[in-house]
């Protein structure tokens, strides 16, 4: 494992450097100005976490519905935040189904029809693979930085880690349907919770992180659950089986050939 910005050793150096910089800044600007961390910085940090980072992970996903529950397995190859290739491996019925994301564009592939279909933007709010995640949740782009106003509404400290609660309200003409999003983010760069509110400020769906631990050399939530808050009993949980960072990635890993598994 190479040093990534949040691996423990690196974080120390990183913090040290930040501290020095901050000190310099205070000296330069004279006196009084404390280095307040803003909500925007935190969001940028959250988004930047995976920039320039590649990973390979195997996950299992459990979709829960009032009548049934289903578990499937898939693996994910990522390069930065932009590119990802997701391929199902189990159950047999779904094996081979794949989703490719390059930048803002997504394709899906089904071995049954042997066709890769480019997802129109209009489909991005639909659910992905029958789960409670939408394609948008997977694509999670820079929207948060571009179209929202962020405020830290709460801040607690525990074991030297600060947990920030950020409320993000979209701007007037933002292409965002939510009334606001509430993001709970820990200072060791772990996203603990993200709740989506409708415009009447009622929570609609929420993602929670569980079992935060070191995985592949980074602090990560091993389990993440997206719940439909309006219809209890409907949730989807994704759990990391293995994750590896900074893997060598072939340039053709994020092409439509790769999507078809050729």
């Amino acid at each position: 494992m190479l040093d990534s910005p949040s691996s423990p050793e690196c974080q120390l150096t990183h913090r040290f450097i930040s501290a020095v910089c901050a000190a310099c800044l205070i000296c330069l600007t004279g006196a009084g100005a404390t280095s307040e961390i803003t909500a925007e910085d935190l969001i940028a940090r959250m988004i930047d976490q995976s920039r320039g980072l590649s990973s390979y992970s195997e996950l299992s996903m459990t979709v829960n519905r009032p009548q049934w529950q289903r578990t499937s397995s898939f693996n994910v190859l990522t390069r930065g935040r932009e590119d990802a290739l997701i391929r199902f491996t189990a159950p047999a019925k779904d094996a081979g189904n794949a989703t490719l994301k390059v930048g803002d564009t997504m394709w899906t592939y089904s071995p049954k029809i042997r066709r890769a279909v480019r997802l129109p933007k209009s489909m991005m709010s639909q659910e992905w693979a029958g789960s409670d995640f939408s394609y948008n949740d997977l694509a999670r782009s820079d929207k948060l930085l571009a179209y929202y106003r962020h405020d830290i509404v709460d801040q607690t400290e525990e074991d030297g880690l600060i947990t920030y609660t950020i409320e993000s309200v979209p701007n007037e003409n933002a292409p965002v349907v939510w009334g606001k999003e509430r993001i709970v983010f820990r200072s060791d760069n772990v996203l603990l919770e993200q709740t989506f509110f409708d415009q009447a400020m009622q929570p609609v769906k929420a993602m929670h992180a569980f079992e935060i631990q070191e995985l592949g050399g980074r602090m990560l939530a091993k389990r993440m659950r997206m719940s439909d808050l309006e219809r209890p009993d409907r949730w989807t949980e994704v759990e990391y089986e293995t994750i590896e960072f900074d893997v060598a990635i072939d340039d053709r890993s994020f092409t439509q050939f790769a999507l078809r598994g050729e």
Partner: protein, 401 residues
Amino acid sequence: MYLVLQLALRNIWRQRRRNGLVLFAIVVSVGGVFVMNSLARGMEQDFLRFSIENLRGHIKILAPNQLDEPGLQYSIPIDTDLSLLARPEIESWTPRLRSPAVIMSERETRGVEIIGIDPTRESHSFIEDLVVEGEAITDTDDQHLLIGRSLADELKTGLGRRLVVLMTGPDDNAIEIGFRVLGIFKSTTSRYEDAYALTGLSSLQAITGVDGFTDVSVYLEDLATTSEVQATLASQIPELNVVTWEQLDPFTSEMYRFIGFTVYILIVVFLGTLVFGLINALVTAVLVRIREFGMLRVVGMKSRLVVMQVVIECVIIMLLALAIGLAAGLLVIWWIGDGIDLTAFAAGVEAFGMGARMAPHLVVDDFVILGVASVILGLIASYFPARRVIKASILQSLRDG
């Protein structure tokens, strides 16, 4: 002549029961045809109105390729000289910017057409008659969205909420923007409520970066001048696509023609039945009166006058029946009033291109045709039975009668 008329009237009165029945039969059928006819005409008007007011207009000027590929890729530049539309046949015209779009709320996604309108010019489309809750579009710079009640319900959204609209821009680029819904409209049919999202023309131009319109709807003073004006405009602006509503909406246009034709079929069927009924009744009537006619001829009445007497009797009954029938029909139409409520079958009749009310519509021409044709047929129907009378010899008539 006066004598013949007097005789005819007396004869009608003498055979009160028989003539009354004939009269009644004609009254019922004239009245029935009158009502059916005006309902069919009402339907025809409905088709026409729906087609025209559904953002089409009598004539539409479109950017080239717009028909093949609706959207923002092709537009009429904003500086196009439209002064040629100032013609006496043209009542008004309005430019619009339209694009297929996907509209999303927190919970649902729907496909609609987003339309930038110039509200001051929208005087002939359904937009004029909308019942708006909240804010209507009153200015081309209005930035909010006006959507239909049923779309709002489907999207589970409401006044003051934001919706995200996705469209394909002029350069095939994806445009994604949030709009605030400040107005919700109700219209006569749910198809408008489902299909359209309205906003100001200038503001939509600014958002999409399209410096122009996708189409211009032209409304005429008189429907009959459609193809003539279309031809003139097409030759004056060859770079744009000028089409009539019939070309844009062949289905409705065919339905429109079909109903026009049906009205005549109806009249022909009615007259056919009427004429056979009449001949039947008159032949009987005349045969019964063979002796009477023989007697008239014995006392010196000319055969021509005998025939005329029968014909006049028939025409009098016919005219009387027409008058009563039309009056009865008018009464029924007055009773129907705004139309027959078809709300229970709304979805079905809407799919067919009609409104939820079936309103009668009177066309004077049809009744002139109906009236004139009935009288002519009455003449013919009575002439032949009467001929039979004078063909027989007087002696035979007197003996057989």
